[in-house]
Subunit: 145 residues, 2 copies
């Protein structure tokens, strides 16, 4: 079966090296939603060597840091599931108390009061700053390795 | 508001130190489902120092390793959400191709063919081995720190 993550990505790449990449999903409900994708087709985090797991998580946490500083969500959600695409990738999702699914998982039930929810669309300036900070923080996190 | 994770846990503690603990949730649909819970009431992973984040992830990956060896799920799901309980905790969930929600998130829609699904209840011997391996692997992972 073809793996979607082994194909050229359709998403904007915010940072990448030969180990992993950070992409912006342009999710309609969660505009700053990012994914950190391993380049190699590997299924589980524990299929990686401990130092590779640590490297992956440093990238995830660098994205989280940039997201908190620029997007300022009420909560960060991190997840590595891969049931449909068993190729290591981390979801980094900015959640707001008035978003479509809060406090449920964004994979769960939408709220009943959907008309009262907001999509937190960052300004163009914020998105530019977000991208710049992701590049800087990932670079910095890996340099300190 | 009272934080559930700041109360004495109702779950069986499989391993703990003064930083975090591993508990077995005895989830009806996912019997080997574990959670790694930070002891301190801290909201986000990036509120922790980098070496504390690394320590937390080593514990998560030690649980994943034990789970793969003993429970042998088709996929591991890892997640730190905390929308309802903003106190750092990691879900470590063994997923099977015939479980109640696969390939959806276990927070998502159950499958339509629910009658065809299985609950993968480990044997008593497997659960004992699972608990022993969690203790051993967490201890080992942190000793190599």
């Amino acid at each position: 079966m073809t793996c979607d993550l082994c194909q050229p990505t359709l998403h904007e790449i915010l940072w990448q090296d030969d180990f992993c990449r950070v992409v912006l999903l342009n999710d309609a409900d969660y505009p700053a939603y990012c994914r950190v994708e391993l380049i190699a087709h590997i299924k589980e985090m524990t299929d990686l060597a401990p130092e590779q797991r640590a490297r992956m998580m440093k990238v995830v946490f660098a994205v989280e840091t940039a997201m908190r500083e620029v997007i300022a969500p009420d909560k960060i959600n991190l997840a590595s599931l891969g049931n449909k695409t068993p190729h290591v990738h981390w979801h980094v999702i900015p959640r707001f108390a008035d978003d479509k699914h809060f406090p449920n998982s964004h994979w769960g039930e939408p709220r009943n009061d959907a008309l009262q929810t907001s999509i937190h669309e960052p300004s163009r300036a914020s998105i530019l700053m977000f991208k710049d900070k992701i590049k800087a923080y990932v670079t910095c996190a890996l340099a300190n390795h």
